[in-house]
């Protein structure tokens, strides 16, 4: 048990399977497509992505939603590679949130 990765849940006890249908939001679909493009262009690999997910602390992993987890790992890898600054990203994210609008975003 202690050696299990946070993602390695096969066979663990768990409760009832949730059956609610949860449609993707539009930005989530765009984010997945962006991820696919980043991989296709060689900026990220899937193995790197898996490593990034598995590096998440169990606490962070549990409290982060599926798509936010994906996004956080992409951003962390791009920062590691020196392609996108995490600090700048945080500032720009705050600015967009403060503006509260999807306009003017490329």
């Amino acid at each position: 048990m202690a050696d299990r990765l946070i993602t390695d849940v096969g066979g663990l006890p768990a409760g009832e399977v949730p059956r609610e249908e949860v449609p993707q939001l539009y930005w989530e679909k765009l984010m997945i497509a962006m991820f696919n493009v980043l991989v296709a262009k060689g900026f990220l690999t899937l193995d790197e992505f898996r490593r990034a997910v598995e590096e998440m602390s169990p606490e962070t992993y549990r409290k982060t939603s599926f798509y936010n987890r994906r996004l956080d790992c992409i951003a962390r890898l791009l920062d590691e590679k020196g392609l996108i600054s995490a600090d700048v990203l945080a500032r720009r994210t705050d600015a967009i949130l403060a503006a509260g609008t999807r306009d003017h975003v490329g």
Binding site: A14, V22, P23, Q24, Y26, W27, F66, L78, L83, R92
Partner: protein, 229 residues
């Protein structure tokens, strides 16, 4: 869709490798295919918009590239898998080709399978098959679209390999002990689609009518095809 598929498509499933318990994290509105103008801007979306803007400004990708990829991703839907199964039900030669080389058989129906490797497993009267991805959410997306929330839930990933009959009962499928239940754990390099048994009483139906009986969940073994009304 051919030479470049493998490069940029097989990633699409592999990467969903975490559980999908986000139903509790933030509200979801049912607008999967257009702008969520009526949904408040969340921190996650703001971060995505910021990141996308930075990537575009840095010249690493373009908005058009994202939209083109979105179109490709949107072609995946359970209807594609249902078409394949319905054809296989009515055409034994097609079925043989599908079991041998599903990607090639899919191309006959103008379906581009973008996953690295796909295997079709046939249910029989003796054996029922169920698909899971315990580590992540690997799923034949180009044939079935995005996996349902239950498929990527931690509960399903945990229990499907330990107590599949109990899970199937929760889904309304109760197989006698004489039917073997096999569970197939997907991974990034190998995805599974299930070919369900053709329901009795469907002898006179055409392909389109048959395909309409095959739901998304049938194609991973979590449901059985409907019967004609």
């Amino acid at each position: 869709m051919s030479a470049h598929d493998h490069d940029h498509d097989h990633d699409h499933d592999h990467d969903h490798d975490h559980d999908h318990d986000h139903a509790h994290d933030h509200g979801h509105a049912p607008h999967p295919t257009r702008e969520d103008d009526d949904v408040a801007l969340s921190p996650g979306e703001a971060k995505f918009l910021a990141l996308k803007g930075m990537l575009v400004e840095a010249g690493l990708l373009t908005g058009d590239e994202i939209m083109r990829r979105l179109e490709i991703n949107d072609r995946g839907s359970p209807h594609q898998g249902a078409r394949m199964v319905a054809r296989a039900w009515v055409d034994p030669d097609f079925k043989a080709r599908m079991m041998e080389d599903p990607k090639s058989a899919a191309r006959e129906l103008d379906i581009a399978v973008t996953e690295a490797k796909l295997t079709v497993i046939e249910n029989t009267l003796q054996t029922h098959n169920l698909v899971v991805c315990t580590l992540c959410s690997c799923y034949p997306r180009s044939l079935l679209g995005e996996p349902p929330a239950w498929y990527v839930s931690k509960a399903y990933r945990s229990r499907a390999v330990r107590e599949p009959r109990k899970v199937l009962r929760e889904f309304g499928l109760d197989f006698p002990e004489t039917v073997e239940v096999r569970v197939h754990d997907s991974n990034a390099d190998l995805r599974y689609m299930i070919m369900p048994l053709r329901p009795p009483g469907t002898e006179g139906l055409g392909e389109a009518e048959l395909a309409a009986l095959i739901s998304r969940d049938c194609l991973v073994g979590a449901a059985l095809p409907g019967t004609p009304a």
